[in-house]
Subunit: 342 residues, 2 copies
DNA sequence: GTGAAAGCGCTAACAA
DNA sequence: TTGTTAGCGCTTTCAC
């Protein structure tokens, strides 16, 4: 029956102050635990008033007066098709969280208009900065709308490196993948690379070659065959791989490996006995559940997100190149077996 | 050299007003396109001042004064492992967008503490409402922190239906999946269901039975075999399925179907010639790229997200049951073939 | 120790 | 048609 009835008026600091018989500034001090010396007694009264009234600070008002918001924006080009963007969001959100920030996300589906309006909406909400991410590692041209705002690129980079970027270390990933095979004694190691020009293609190839060198092997261009980077590509390449006499194959990604598995099965061949294989990406649904489970190298999407917010918040620096390369950890499973002398 | 140099002071409405030689309220009117009749001339001057100064409205201040924020919160239990949560976010974000809202997302990894603090953070940011979502369809107990806030459940529901929920229509999905097989003339249709108790298990089974009825077939419990709901489960069940003499199988999900494919291949059998199969979920990476591509029924995650915000914003009503069931559309591909008389 | 008061950037009466 | 003014909920000097 009091005036608190009816319209669910929101409880403000003033209400708390009145209830506790103190001033708003006192309430503010206890709520924010500022150093201010507030008497035990008053402090208690405020606490009780807060509980009683169910007061909840208004972050928006706070942001307004302090001038600094606790928002971080994340714009993604495709959050729905793969779990990749999800992992980036996941990592970014957790790290943002740890620093008291909340994540505003927008999906653009690669649409420039959507992108521009997403960015401007974020800017209007005074985000502290924006993470611009793509679902596969690539070069992007920076949306004009981003100019002037604090930005970091995640899983992509700009041509000139004007803006800090956090990307996977493809070279090392390719190197480790190949080494998993080499260190088991394989010497005829084929590489089913993607035919799509991309940092992944170039980087992994460099890693492959480097690993070969490490083991004193000479690079044989004939052993790398370019395919469409999915199941169909892997499936179609079985014949060629077999003709190469390879005992092991490094696949550009897990999907290619999956296609390869299928093709091999159709010929009555077995992984890893007839062929050892290693993938890339560590796409859980696939890699962990193939028969046998696929050894692969993980694309560290959540780490990308995490590092992204760290450099955005200035906790971490991108190299002088403007690019921070995050390690792709190998995840060994059961698709590799020691080479038999033949 | 002007005072605009140095610290990047943010341009406010007052600055624009001063530059344009009008009052802030005039600026406000033109910025917001309120009905107010502002002279062409003043309007123009304001426009120019805005461009010149690079003014950008401060949404936070606006929210503060109008009392209504344009935020929607989305808390998810697992945004990284599957594309499912991503699709929910995607749909929710797009729909929110359309209505001028931005999405605040938080991942909780099922951790209650994280959940509570996520929710309270959102509430402090005065979100208009919260979407609470899970990555697989299930019953949830409502986090206490949600009490009092506008909430809608997405892909989950509360026991008593106290809170509106948007969920997939499992029964119809199961029905349609089965019908895809039946309408091709199959009469011995097995069902590889999950053994995990869940609305998906019960619903799809009901749908399966209903479809059988529609075709005047009697339900044979022996034809439904419960398996672990992933590749391993499907793989392990091949023998049993074959023993059943089934000519077609409805798999609880695409992953089970994938396992089934593998098992069949190992025995030199072929989909769909030896067995027609239909999955559920429409997990793109799998379904679209199996050999042959898998006919399945889609789990409409982005629709769930979309409807979620619609009921949150009051644009749409959940049924009187408090549950809005979203249709799961069949997506035919090439894993089904007409039954041959044998 | 605590409070008064100014003001963050904006909207919305109300005046003019 | 345009300007004045009073806040929105909060932080933060600066007095007392």
């Amino acid at each position: 029956m009091t005036k608190n009835e009816g319209v669910h008026r929101t409880v403000t600091m003033r209400d708390v102050a009145r209830e506790a018989g103190v001033s708003v500034s006192t309430v503010s001090h206890v709520v924010n635990n500022t150093g201010a010396r507030i008497g035990q007694e008053a402090r208690e009264r405020v606490r009780r008033a807060i509980d009683k009234l169910g007061y909840r600070p208004n972050a928006l008002a706070k942001n307004l007066v302090t001038g600094s918001s606790r928002f971080l924006g994340l714009v993604a080009d495709a959050i729905a098709s793969t779990p990749f963007a999800g992992q980036i969001i996941h990592g970014a959100q957790e790290e943002a969280w740890r620093h008291g920030y909340v994540l505003l996300v927008a999906n653009t589906d690669g649409n420039e208009a959507a992108e521009a309006s997403a960015i401007s909406m974020m800017l209007e909400h005074k985000v502290r900065g924006i993470l611009y991410s793509t679902w596969y590692h690539r070069e992007v041209k920076l949306p004009a709308a981003l100019a002037g705002s604090d930005t970091v690129l995640v899983n992509c980079y700009s041509p000139q490196g004007e803006v800090p970027a956090v990307v996977p270390d493809e070279v090392n990933g390719g190197h480790d993948a190949t080494r998993m095979l080499l260190s088991e004694g394989h010497r005829r190691v084929a590489f089913l690379n993607t035919r799509a020009l991309s940092p992944a293609r170039e980087g992994r190839l460099r890693g492959y070659r480097r690993a070969l060198e490490d083991f004193g092997l000479v690079f044989d261009p004939a052993k790398v065959v370019d395919v469409q980077p999915d199941q169909e590509g892997g499936y179609a390449a079985v014949g060629e791989i077999l003709a190469l006499g390879a005992t092991a194959v490094f696949c550009h990604n897990d999907r290619v490996a999956m296609g390869l598995y299928d093709g091999l099965r159709d010929r009555g061949l077995r992984v890893p006995d007839d062929l050892s294989v290693v993938g890339f990406d560590n796409q859980e649904v696939i890699a962990a559940h193939l028969q046998p489970p696929l050894s692969t190298v993980a694309l560290p999407h959540d780490e990308l997100g995490r590092h992204g917010v760290r450099v955005l918040l200035g906790i971490e620096e991108a190299e002088q190149t403007g690019r921070l390369e995050v390690n792709c950890p190998p995840v060994p499973r059961r698709s590799i077996v020691a080479a038999t002398r033949r």
